[in-house]
Every structure is written in C-alpha cells, then in structure tokens.
C-alpha cells in the first residue's frame, strides 16, 4: 500500500494546489470582468451614436470625392489591427482572434500588422509579419487617449499611402459567456455598405443637409473620428471578452480539478482498503500457519 497510496496522495495534493490557483484566477477575472462590463456599458452609447450618426450621414450624401472612400485608389497593401490579450490562459480567445485574422489575410498579397496585446504581437513577430505598430499592456486600463494614438497612427499610414486598406480584428462581447470574433474593414469606407446598414432605402437627403463649412471638410473631420471610435469600441469590447473568456476557462479548469480529485480520492481509498485487506489476509495466514 505504502508506495501506491503515497503516490496517489501526492497527486491529489498537486491537483488541489492547481485548483486553488485556477479558482483564484477565476475570482480575479470575474471582478475584472465586472469592471470591464461597466466600462462597456458606459462607452456603448457613444460607440453606437457615432456609428449610427456617421452611417446616416454617409448614406444620405452623394458620393464625395475623398480619399477615404472605396475606389479612391488601388488596394495594394492591407493593414490589420489585431486585438489579442496580453496573457494566455483564457481558452480559445487568442487563437480564435489569430485564426480569424489569418483566414482573412489569406486573400491579401501584402500585409502589415498593428498588434495590440502581447500574445498577438509574439505570434506575428515569430512568423515574420510586418509590424507597423505594437501596443502592449494597455487593454486593462484602456482609455480613449490610447485609442486616439492608435487611430492617428492608422490615419497617418493611410494618408501617406503606406497602406491602402485597414481591417480591425477584435472580439465582440455578446454576453458573459458568448463572444464572437469579428473582422471589420475600417478603411476605405464603402457607401453601399453604409446604406445597407442604415436599413431602408431612403431617397437622398443630401441637398437638404448643410455641411459647414463644406462637405469635404466635414468628411475629412468625421472619418478619423469614426475610425477612432470604432477602434476604441473594439478595444473595450475585446477587453471585456478577454476577461469573460478567462473566467470561463478557469471555471472549467476548476471543475475539472474537482472531478479529478474526487476520482483520485476514490482510487486512494480503494488502494488503502486493498492494503488493509491484504494485511488482514497475511495476519490470518500467519496465524493459521502457526497452528
């Protein structure tokens, strides 16, 4: 008994300490999730309003000669903003984001990446992608300022024709247990898509709207704002999703550990009993032999 029982006991002890760690991580990420959700609820009105307003404006207007619109120039180089976590241990969260971006990148010839989050950066660096920018450890305390920095980099790249289209890959937060990886195109804007998004087919109101000082000036101002708000929204949603994913992963890890401990305890008791039975048999056998 001694050998086997001790081995199982040691095993139980190690699983138990793992369980304590995963349990602690679960608690930490639930409280972080709560905070991230509060953030999300606070920023959601802004995000939705900007998106809606700009979609409406773009859908209502005639095509404007602007570098931000589809067809302004040939697409040679694509830029991907990939939002991942800084740390692992969050189930399929990071690999889903990377998978999604890779599947979209497949059709592109020339690619550069702006990595947000350490995991994504490590991956793209290791595989030799072109990194235009990297932002690490910003997600937990994300502020609008950071999003602004990222978007001004993006706008610069786009305006100087270093890149010709920009995608954002992030994880949208559907609910605490459900997250969806999404890949959206930030630039150039497509007017037909905008029209679809605002729904019903409307006649154009362009003539009735006054753009001060001029339509072009307004658009040149609005588009960066639009990109900014989409990036910010993507970051906030990703941060919440990350915590949600981690909480789920840790919860199932804890459950698995509990199950394992139960099984091991059963095995341990069985082994202990077998040893006792054997000992008794030996004693009885010895006593018998003495007779």
């Amino acid at each position: 008994m001694a050998g086997k029982g001790r081995e199982i006991k040691r095993r139980i002890k190690s699983v138990n300490s793992t369980k304590q760690i995963t349990k602690a991580m679960e608690l930490v990420s639930s409280s972080k999730l709560r905070r991230a959700r509060e953030r999300l609820d606070k920023t959601k009105p802004y995000f939705d309003t900007v998106r809606k307003t700009i979609n409406e404006i773009l859908a209502d207007s005639e095509s404007i000669d602007s570098i931000y619109f589809e067809g302004a120039r040939e697409i040679k180089k694509s830029c991907y903003i990939v939002v991942t976590a800084d740390r692992g241990l969050c189930g399929g969260y990071n690999s889903n984001v990377i998978k999604e971006s890779l599947s979209s990148m497949k059709e592109k010839k020339d690619i550069s990446v702006i990595a947000i989050g350490q995991r994504g950066r490590d991956f793209f660096r290791k595989h030799g992608y072109d990194l235009d920018g990297e932002y690490i450890n910003i997600l937990e305390t994300i502020s609008f300022k950071e999003a602004k920095k990222i978007s001004s980099l993006v706008m610069q790249l786009y305006e100087q024709e270093m890149v010709d289209e920009v995608y954002l890959v992030y994880t949208s937060f559907v609910s605490t247990i459900s997250h969806k990886t999404e890949c959206i195109r930030l630039l150039p804007l497509s007017q037909t898509k905008m029209k679809e998004e605002t729904g019903e087919k409307k006649e154009s109101f362009f003539e009735y709207i006054s753009y001060e000082p001029s339509p072009k000036a307004v658009f040149d101002y609005l588009v960066p704002q639009y990109v900014e708000s989409l990036i910010f929204g993507g970051l906030v949603e990703s941060a919440a999703s990350e915590q949600g994913a981690r909480r789920m992963a840790m919860e199932s890890a804890t459950d698995n550990a509990i199950e394992m401990i139960d099984q091991l305890t059963l095995n341990y008791n069985r082994a202990r009993q077998a040893a006792i039975t054997q000992e008794i048999a030996e004693i009885v056998g010895g006593a018998e032999a003495l007779k």
Binding site: K42, Y46, V50, T53, Y211, E212, P213, L222
Partner: protein, 137 residues
C-alpha cells in the same frame, strides 16, 4: 415659450446629457452657432469651447473639447471627445495644462505637434472660462 427639441451629448466615457432643450449654443470651427428647434439639417465639426444649453427654466453651461454636431428633424446629437460640467472641472489642472501647452508652443523644438498644443490651449481655456463663470455667480 420657445419650442423644444431633443438634445443628446455623448462622450467616450459616458452619456453626458440627454433631454429636451430650447436652444443649444456650441462653438463650431467657424465660430459660435446657436441651434433651436426646426433648425436645418446640419453636420459640422466643433472646436473646443463653451457649450450653452437652454432648458425650459434654466441655462446650463459646460466645457466641450471638440467633436461634431449632427442636427436632424427634432433631434440634435453632439459627439465629443470629452465634456464636463463646471463643478467637475479642476481649475488648477486646467491652468497647468494651459501653461504646459504654451511652453510647448514656445519651445524651439521642431518635433512638437503645433496643432495638438493649440488644441490643448483651447481646451484648457474653455475649461477655465466655464469654471470661472461658475465660481463668480
């Protein structure tokens, strides 16, 4: 009594204001502009400045740091990077920010972002103005 319309002000940090108003005065990039009910549909960028909101019985003031306003039938939406009520403004911080930005502008360093520094000064000035008016009354 003037007609009212719905005004909504949103910032990335929160939903700043929502309600029925008679008039709103905002600083557009071409100067102050007042919007009342039945205004023509308009979209125009805002520069940092004072925001005056006239409700039925009361006039509210706030500092707003850029963004844009979108006026549609019966509804106006202001989307801004940041907005504050006077009681939320930290005067010392605003004064400091102004001095810092001015120093940046004065320095002979070629790398500084002049537009950003100027915008920072405008932002700080509007905050200081709103706060001082508030304290004076």
């Amino acid at each position: 009594m003037a007609q009212t319309f719905n005004l909504e002000i949103v910032t990335p940090e929160r939903s700043f204001y929502k309600g029925e108003v008679e008039m709103v005065v905002a600083r557009t990039i071409q100067g102050d502009a007042a919007f009342m009910a039945d205004h023509m549909w308009t979209v125009t960028p805002l520069s940092p400045g004072l925001l005056k909101i006239r409700e039925k019985n009361e006039i509210k003031k706030a500092a707003c740091s850029g963004g844009f306003i979108h006026v549609k039938e019966g509804k106006a939406t202001i989307v801004s990077d940041a907005a504050e009520w006077p009681e939320e403004i930290d005067l010392d911080r605003a004064v400091e920010a102004k001095e810092r930005a001015e120093k940046r502008l004065d320095s002979s360093d070629q790398d500084i972002d002049t537009d950003r520094a100027k915008a920072a000064i405008l932002r700080a000035l509007s905050r200081i103005k709103v706060k001082e008016e508030y304290m004076g009354k």
